[in-house]
């Protein structure tokens, strides 16, 4: 049976998207594979399909709870029952139970933190691992935009599992990050598949405005005129919320905010409403979009400046998955570049905090062997945020387990922080120069990934020339007539079986 037939049988698709087939074939031939596929081109198929053809379990390491949950759910939606996602959604008992019966599953999703536990690792070792998948593999690189300390240990984990066949997937990686991935995972030979980060059907535009107020006005104007559905990204929950309110007041269709501060039920409802076309526009923080399978998003607007080119590409990559023309617009006003710097700094513990913790640890040396148990206490007094704590704890654990004395660990943390901060600053400067320079936006991004623009694209970017009219609503659709809501009819429709 050829791969297309299997694809048709399992998923009902008739053809692969660019790259998928080559990557799958490489995995099936038993080669460790590093693959870079742009966002929105069906990465998960690359491990799902081999999973069905290889004997044994597929282990998928995934960095984000929500992403993991989404991917597991997508598999289940497709009728696959042998899926388990090991994360904090499971109770202790459920974890224990599933762990004893790992063999029953085909697809096992695990967060990197879970791999710290010897009990987990020793159960995994008993399996016949068909494929070891590292999703969002760029998280492995300290210089990647989304570095996760837990990912650093994956190389060791892989070795302990007997170096199973491995597939590292990412959407965006510069050549340096790609080398880091291979080195960290211990992949010496193997195949690489790098597909262009370019998404020719997404036009790129940066609009410079004079003030915050102008940005808001322009945003309202765009939301009124652009053909939806669309997403507007903000870096603050509050502003996302306020803007959604403002747009509703101005009568811009059906708009809702989405952010991590909302309760779970509302988040699910808003996401589902958007997917089902009941909502036209989402005002979101970066919490929105991971794992959202919506093909027809027509525009993505950034109200705040992104922190890295990579994350920007991820977010705008949610537009136009159906291949139809779509647009990404970044609104920029002077002074906007300050916010990313503040955000970047707030993610790392500062030297005063580190010195304070050092003092505290010197007074309570018995704590050092079990630092995580004292998280609450230490965070309370030092004032570390959740992210800052994770960065600190991880570094501390790694270094002190190597027998390095406290004083030196602290110095190393400071140096390391400085480097991380430098790298973040550099990323921000790259975005800033991308905004400021008057060269083709697409070419500029591609050069960042050591690629070149090969074809001429209509409506390429605001520098090359852009006809915004191509993206506006054509037929001014009448607002859907508001039928009188009748609760009795609604219940009937929900519950009475149709003909």
């Amino acid at each position: 049976m050829n791969l297309e037939t299997i694809l048709q049988k399992t998923y009902g698709y008739t053809s692969f998207r660019p790259g998928q087939k080559e990557i799958i074939a490489s995995v099936l031939s038993g080669k460790d594979t590093v693959a870079m596929l742009p966002t929105g081109t069906g990465k998960s198929l690359c491990y799902q399909l081999p999973g069905y053809l290889l004997e044994g379990q597929v282990i998928i390491i995934s960095p984000l709870l929500s992403l993991m949950q989404d991917q597991a759910e997508q598999l289940m939606l497709n009728g696959e029952k042998k899926v388990i996602a090991f994360n904090s959604f499971l109770t202790h008992e459920e974890k224990r139970q599933s762990l004893m019966n790992l063999r029953r599953y085909k697809f096992i999703f695990i967060s990197p933190e879970m791999l710290h536990f010897e009990a987990v690792l020793s159960q995994l070792k008993k399996l016949r691992i068909a494929l070891f998948v590292v999703d969002e593999a760029h998280c492995i690189s300290q210089w990647g935009y989304d570095f996760r300390p837990d990912y650093l240990k994956l190389g060791e984990v892989r070795k302990r599992l007997g170096s199973p066949l491995t597939l590292a997937l990412t959407a965006t990686a510069t050549p340096a990050v790609k080398e880091d991935i291979k080195k960290s995972l211990g992949i010496t030979e193997g195949s690489e598949f790098i597909y262009s980060v370019d998404r020719p059907n997404i036009s790129l535009s940066v609009e410079r405005l004079n003030s915050y107020r102008d940005k808001i006005e322009r945003l309202v104007e765009l939301a009124e005129t652009l053909e939806g559905p669309g997403i507007i990204y903000f870096s603050s929950k509050k502003i996302a919320e306020q803007t959604a309110e403002l747009l509703r007041d101005r009568g811009v269709g059906s708009v809702m905010a989405y952010h991590g501060g909302m309760d779970q039920e509302s988040r699910i409802l808003v996401q589902q409403q958007f997917i089902h076309g009941q909502l036209d526009l989402i005002c979101a923080t970066s919490a929105f979009g991971m794992g959202i399978n919506k093909e027809n998003i027509r525009y993505v607007i950034h109200f705040h400046m992104p922190l890295q080119i990579e994350s920007y590409l991820q977010e705008i990559g949610r537009a136009g998955r159906d291949g139809k023309k779509s647009i990404a617009i970044l609104l920029f006003a002077p002074g906007d570049e300050q916010l990313p710097y503040q955000l970047a700094e707030s993610e790392l513990p500062d030297n005063v905090q580190i010195d304070w913790i050092k003092g505290w640890l010197e007074e309570n040396p018995e704590v050092m062997s079990s630092l995580s148990q004292y998280e609450e206490q230490i965070r309370q007094v030092s004032g570390l945020t959740d992210t800052q704590w994770r960065v600190f704890e991880d570094f501390f654990q790694r270094k002190s387990s190597q027998g390095i004395p406290l004083g030196r660990v602290v110095e190393e943390i400071k140096v390391y922080n400085q480097k991380r901060l430098e790298s973040k600053r550099q990323s921000i400067e790259e975005v800033y120069s991308w905004i400021s320079m008057n060269v083709c936006r697409r070419e500029h991004i591609l050069s960042f990934f050591k690629e070149e623009k090969t074809e001429a694209i209509r409506n390429c970017c605001d520098v090359c020339g852009l006809e915004l009219n191509d993206f506006t609503k054509k037929n001014n659709k009448e607002n859907q007539e508001n039928l009188q809501y009748d609760w009795k009819n609604h219940l009937d429709a929900l519950l009475i079986p149709g003909e």
């Binding site: 759910e73 939606l77 497709n78 009728g79 959604f89 499971l90 109770t91 459920e94 809702m256 779970q264 039920e265 509302s266 699910i268 409802l269 808003v270 589902q272 409403q273 089902h276 009941q278 809501y485 609760w487 009795k488 609604h490 219940l491 009937d492 429709a493 929900l494 519950l495 009475i496 079986p497 149709g498």
Partner: protein, 353 residues
């Protein structure tokens, strides 16, 4: 104006508290704090229906609202920090309650443990039935808690009803129950329901669509759920299917941990002073526990602590005194102490009025 309804609730509580408590007792009540003091206050001042009906209200929000109302002289503060209603505030409250009546079915105390679970089960069941009706198996469940999902699995296995019947039956029961609601629009609930190709509204969206403030909407939503729960309790034979959504989430109100310990010693026939000694607690604390037990266990016999004759005297005094202030009752029955009065009010308080 967003919090105007919440202000009404707070004013109402201040009125009922008769200047005997600080504003934080209202916070604890609305948050549903499980302390003997809060639980007894709720009963003593007949505010049980508000228990845990604004679980998210914060201290500073409440202080802010109180300050606003003090500024416009609706309430004033005495030297103990206790608020009382002014004449102006009283007049406002009276007219506001006509416009925004508190849902009559609201019963936080009785149903605060079962409301959330009931809604999660109901909304999920409706979604599942709707998709079954359309033979559509691929959808994401609107509720994600594992205990709710596994409840549903068991329910579908054991309900005995056939797929088609299930929807018809649930529809019949819901139509009947919601159709008999008098003071709340059933749309408050039904707008939130998700089914095939139709995702329900969030609380914010539903409130907007109905033109209600968020707080008022919230109380009405709880009011509808409490109404259904009351219907199920009252005539279980009429709502056999809905009744199955309640089982296991029963409204047994748990005692606080410390009270449980005291209660088990009471059951071993220890006296109050003995228990105080054993547990190394003050006698007054043990008395608080006994009152809490009396509030929660309808079968709890208080005669060992208050003789029958005295119970009657206290009840008589309580009914004749307008305010139910302990002090006033004590003046009418000087031979009773405060513990005895509180215990009698706890036992008979609510239904005697």
């Amino acid at each position: 104006m967003e919090s105007s309804y919440l202000k009404i609730v707070i004013l109402y509580c201040i009125k009922e508290l008769q200047g005997q408590r600080t504003i934080y007792s209202i916070l604890h009540l609305l948050n549903g704090k499980k302390s003997s003091q809060t639980i007894q206050d709720a009963h003593l001042f007949q505010l049980t229906r508000f228990f845990k009906t604004f679980g998210q209200l914060t201290r500073s929000e409440l202080e802010q609202l109180a300050a606003e109302m003090e500024n416009i002289n609706w309430i004033s503060q005495d030297e103990n920090g206790h608020f009382t209603l002014s004449v102006k505030g009283g007049r406002y409250l009276q007219s506001a309650l006509l416009e925004y009546p508190i849902p009559s079915s609201l019963n936080g105390w009785k149903y605060h443990t079962s409301t959330g679970v009931f809604w999660e089960r109901l909304s999920l069941l409706v979604q599942v039935i709707s998709h079954l009706n359309y033979n559509h198996a691929k959808y994401l469940p609107i509720q994600r808690k594992r205990n709710v999902l596994s409840w549903l699995k068991d329910f579908l296995k054991t309900s005995g009803a056939d797929r088609n019947e299930l929807g018809i039956l649930l529809n019949k029961e819901l139509q009947h129950c919601l159709g008999s609601l008098s003071d709340i629009n059933p749309a408050v609930l039904t707008l939130r329901l998700t089914g095939y190709n139709h995702i329900g509204l969030t609380d914010v969206q539903a409130a907007k669509q109905l033109g209600l403030g968020q707080d008022y909407y919230h109380h009405q939503f709880l009011g509808v759920l409490h109404y259904i729960l009351e219907c199920i309790k009252h005539s279980p034979s009429r709502y056999p299917l809905l009744g199955k959504l309640v089982s296991g989430s029963e409204d047994s109100v748990p005692l606080t941990f410390s009270t449980k310990k005291t209660y088990s010693l009471l059951n071993e026939d220890f006296g109050l002073d003995e228990i105080a000694r054993i547990r190394n607690l003050k006698r007054s604390t043990i008395e608080d526990h006994v009152v809490e037990v009396a509030l929660n266990e309808s079968s709890f016999d208080i005669t060992p602590y208050v003789a029958n004759d005295r119970q009657k005297l206290i009840l008589k005094a309580a009914n004749s005194s307008e305010s139910r202030q302990l002090k006033q009752i004590r003046q009418l029955v000087p031979e009773a102490d405060y513990f005895e009065i509180r215990l009698v009010l706890a036992k008979f308080g609510e239904e005697e009025r």
